[in-house]
């Protein structure tokens, strides 16, 4: 997935801004800095890693090795909607894999990827702590329990409806503005 000029620029600027709060080059601050960058950008792209490595006066590969070691860091931009399928023990035993398969089939991407139009990204998480509701899907921080393949279709459909409504409203607004 290629980053746009715009994305590269934002990545660099955001990292710069965050690093301004860290005057020291103490190695212990690297992970907190990277976490801040991910909180702001949603991912940690190469230009951001470069900026961090310059600040800490370390070879870029050291930063890269940290970002790729920890599961939390994402290297590609997340989708507008983030789907996380729980793959903890309880969810697995109740068919978490079937749910993950359903999402992969419907979105036509593999786990860990983002759709071409950047609307959806699909990830797995380990136990979100509501094993009682297994299998669990977290969609944009909202937890859905007892998910079935048909429910996956339902969730996608309701998202589609929301989007159409939004677009409809936007168009109406535009039309309204033009009329004025």
């Amino acid at each position: 997935m290629e980053l746009t000029e715009e994305e590269i620029k934002t990545a660099k600027e955001t990292s710069q801004n965050i690093l301004e709060n860290y005057t020291c080059t103490d190695r212990g601050k690297i992970i907190p800095v990277l976490q801040n960058i991910q909180n702001e950008l949603g991912y940690v792209p190469l230009p951001a890693m470069q900026t961090v490595s310059d600040h800490f006066e370390l070879p870029a590969v050291d930063i890269y090795s940290i970002v790729t070691f920890y599961n939390q860091f994402r290297l590609i931009p997340p989708g507008k909607n983030q789907v996380k399928v729980c793959m903890g023990t309880a969810c697995h035993m109740r068919g978490g894999q079937i749910i993950l398969d359903s999402w992969e089939r419907r979105l036509d991407i593999k786990c860990g990827e983002t759709t071409e139009d950047r609307e959806f990204s699909l990830e797995r998480v380990a136990c979100v702590g509501c094993c009682t509701l297994a299998p669990v899907v977290v969609m944009n921080e909202e937890i859905h329990g007892k998910v079935t393949p048909t429910r996956v279709d339902g969730l996608l459909y309701s998202y589609q409806l929301d989007k159409e409504q939004e677009e409809g409203e936007e168009q109406e607004q535009k039309a309204g503005e033009e009329n004025e």
């Binding site: 190695r27 907190p32 070691f69 023990t89 068919g95 398969d101 702590g129 393949p149």
Partner: protein, 634 residues
């Protein structure tokens, strides 16, 4: 205790708590488990209804998790003149009924009540149920009853008293108490806490650290999270006592990234404790100083291992190193460092307050105290429980957990997560403690307990855990990196029906090599789930290999779905509607048939077929289909 500063703090807290006791209080459990099923919405509904009804003197309060996660969202109502009563499965509708009928009116709404939370002569309490007879709560006692956002609630219930006592003792005296108590670390290995602290205390150094390990990475465990969300001060007090004992003035709480609510509540707790002078410079006017900070993990299971955790805090990938030197000798930034689990630290204040002898009176001589488990899987009462060490597995499954759901047959308990093992029915009388469990090839581990029933395939569960450890291996040791991959490949072959009989022995051999050739316990224990399932469920492995059959009908490649023509009620279309890939069609007799080529084996039709017809079945081995369809060549 004669610390005047503390006396004043305590009086204030008690006054606060007493005032609350005299009011009508509505408590909503808003830990993650409650939130997942709508506790926040319930809270909003109650607030709305209170406003609608014009009730002004009732207090709406957030509390943590009591352990009854199966019945979330939970609401406790305390109204003067009535015992405090806990209501389960509350939704927005029930919530407004409770306000109207009980808060405004005087109807207890018994139909929604689970139990009372204090003894009375109107209504049974949780202690009156079989579960209550088995349970004994020490660190979970105040969980779900106090507001984790309010330090006064903790103090009023005896909190920070141990710290106030301790600073008037010598660190050596505190250490002696912990050593006498026989407290063993609850992070997995059961290492005696007193000995760890002593090592650190004995080393002369100006800078020492204490760290609370809240990286709970076992994918089926959530007790540490619940404790931090429900009673964060209890852990902080323990951490402060550890720091006082070993002579550290700096501490960290290493919390898993996936626990945002725990991070928020611990952060708030630290601030409040500082404001009260219970942390920070000159704690309660003494010359003991303690700064606490939160460090958020970044989602790597191996970082729960103490040396990996240290590496990760120092800005490196979380790769374990050789011990010795132990962290207690040379840990964070090469300084003596005590690392303890959340649960271990949560016991400390109770031991200092009530004494080592009291602690030793619970559990067994070698394993004093209680154990906390997260119950999940096919059990009726999922949630958390705290029981004395030496309780049997049977008591936990049947008394606390109320047995298996849907009257299915119990098969095994998986305990200890990725480093633990599966315990079959024949060993259910094993008592739970560090030593008995390792004797039967399982492990206490973190305390995750997953109950499996007849529909769960033991080869598949072994494969699941190995897949987990294989992905989480940091890659330092060859056997852990490649050996686990080889084991996983073999297990995948078996679950696909491509295994051969020798594979089962290869697994045993590889397991031994991985145990010998790995540095940390991730590798050393990774083969446990496989070894214990082979030991107790060898017949299931053999069925997969020899007959290509999955006895639990779980392994996808070895099962097919089939609609029994004689049972299919032709006019019903439930299965067709449920199929996500449109692979079910009606034949000329309007009987439903599955297109096996297209079927993704997702279970939807099986769930959709109305129970009165029960026409969809699973078959294993796949060849059974031919028998059923009568297409076997003559």
């Amino acid at each position: 205790m004669n610390n005047e500063t503390f006396q004043k703090i305590k009086q204030e807290a008690l006054a606060d708590w007493q005032a609350l006791k005299e009011k009508t209080v509505i408590m909503v459990g808003t830990a993650t488990c409650g939130r997942a099923v709508g506790a926040v919405e319930v809270m909003r509904a109650i607030d709305q209804e209170l406003a609608n009804q014009g009730v002004k003197d009732a207090v709406l309060m957030e509390v943590g998790c009591m352990g009854h996660c199966y019945a979330e969202p939970l609401v406790i109502i305390q109204k003067p003149g009535y015992p405090a009563i806990c209501y389960g499965y509350v939704d927005e509708g029930t919530a407004s009924v409770l306000v109207k009928e009980f808060i405004v009116g005087d109807d207890l709404c018994i139909e929604f009540a689970l139990a009372a939370t204090e003894p009375n002569d109107m209504f049974p309490t949780f202690e009156d149920f079989p579960r209550g007879m088995v349970e004994q709560k020490i660190v979970m006692e105040n969980c779900g009853i106090i507001d984790p956002h309010n330090i006064n609630h903790y103090i009023a219930n005896g909190g920070y008293e141990a710290l106030a006592n301790a600073i008037e003792m010598t660190p050596e005296q505190v250490l002696q108490e912990i050593k006498n108590s026989g407290l063993r670390g609850r992070g997995g290995a059961g290492f005696p806490t007193g000995i760890k602290w002593e090592t650190c205390q004995n080393i002369e150094d100006d800078v020492k650290y204490v760290i609370c390990n809240a990286d709970e990475g076992d994918p089926g465990a959530f007790m540490d999270r619940a404790l931090l969300e429900s009673n964060p001060h209890q852990m902080l007090e323990g951490l402060a006592l550890a720091a006082f004992t070993v002579g550290a003035s700096h501490g960290y709480i290493y919390i898993r990234a996936e626990y945002p609510l725990a991070v928020e509540r611990v952060r708030m707790a630290i601030e409040q404790a500082k404001d009260k002078g219970l942390l920070g410079n000159s704690v309660l006017g003494s010359n003991f100083n303690l700064e606490l900070e939160i460090f958020q993990g970044s989602g790597a299971f191996v970082c729960g291992e103490e040396t990996a955790l240290i590496n990760s805090m120092q800005g490196y990938p979380g790769i374990p190193r050789h011990r010795p030197p132990f962290p207690a000798q040379a840990g964070l930034w090469n300084k003596p460092t005590v690392i303890n689990n959340v649960k271990t630290l949560s016991y400390v204040s109770h031991i200092i307050k009530k004494g080592a002898d009291w602690f030793k009176s619970i559990g067994t001589p070698e394993n004093p105290g209680t154990a906390i488990f997260a119950l999940a899987g096919k059990i009726i009462n999922t949630g958390l429980t705290e029981v004395p060490m030496s309780t049997t597995l049977k008591q936990i499954v049947y008394d606390v957990g109320s047995g298996i759901e849907k009257s299915k047959k119990f098969k095994a308990v998986q305990i200890g997560g990725p480093s633990g093992g599966c315990i079959p029915e024949s060993l259910l009388d094993t008592s739970i403690d560090f030593d008995s469990l390792s004797k039967i090839g399982a492990m206490m581990g973190s305390g995750g307990m997953v109950i499996l029933d007849e529909d769960d395939c033991m080869v598949e569960i072994a494969r699941f855990f190995l897949d987990f450890t294989q992905k989480e291996s940091c890659g330092k040791c060859t056997f852990c990196r490649i050996g686990t991959k080889q084991m996983l490949d073999i297990l995948e072959r078996i679950t696909k029906g491509e295994g051969v009989l020798e594979d089962i022995d290869y697994l045993g051999e590889l397991a031994q090599n991985i145990k010998n050739g790995s540095l940390c316990n991730l590798g050393k224990t990774a083969p446990n789930p496989v070894l214990s399932t082979i030991r107790h469920f060898r017949d299931e492995y053999e069925a997969h290999v020899i007959e290509k059959r999955c006895p639990a009908l779980m392994c996808k490649e070895l099962t097919t779905f089939y609609i029994l023509p004689e049972k299919c009620e032709r006019s019903c279309d439930a299965c067709i509607g449920s199929c996500p890939v449109e692979c079910i069609y009606s034949n000329e007799d309007r009987i439903k048939v599955i297109d096996q080529e297209k079927c993704v084996k997702c279970n939807s039709c099986l769930d959709a077929c109305p129970p009165q017809y029960d026409a969809v079945i699973k078959l294993s081995p796949v060849d059974m289909l031919k028998v059923k369809e009568n297409v076997i060549d003559e």
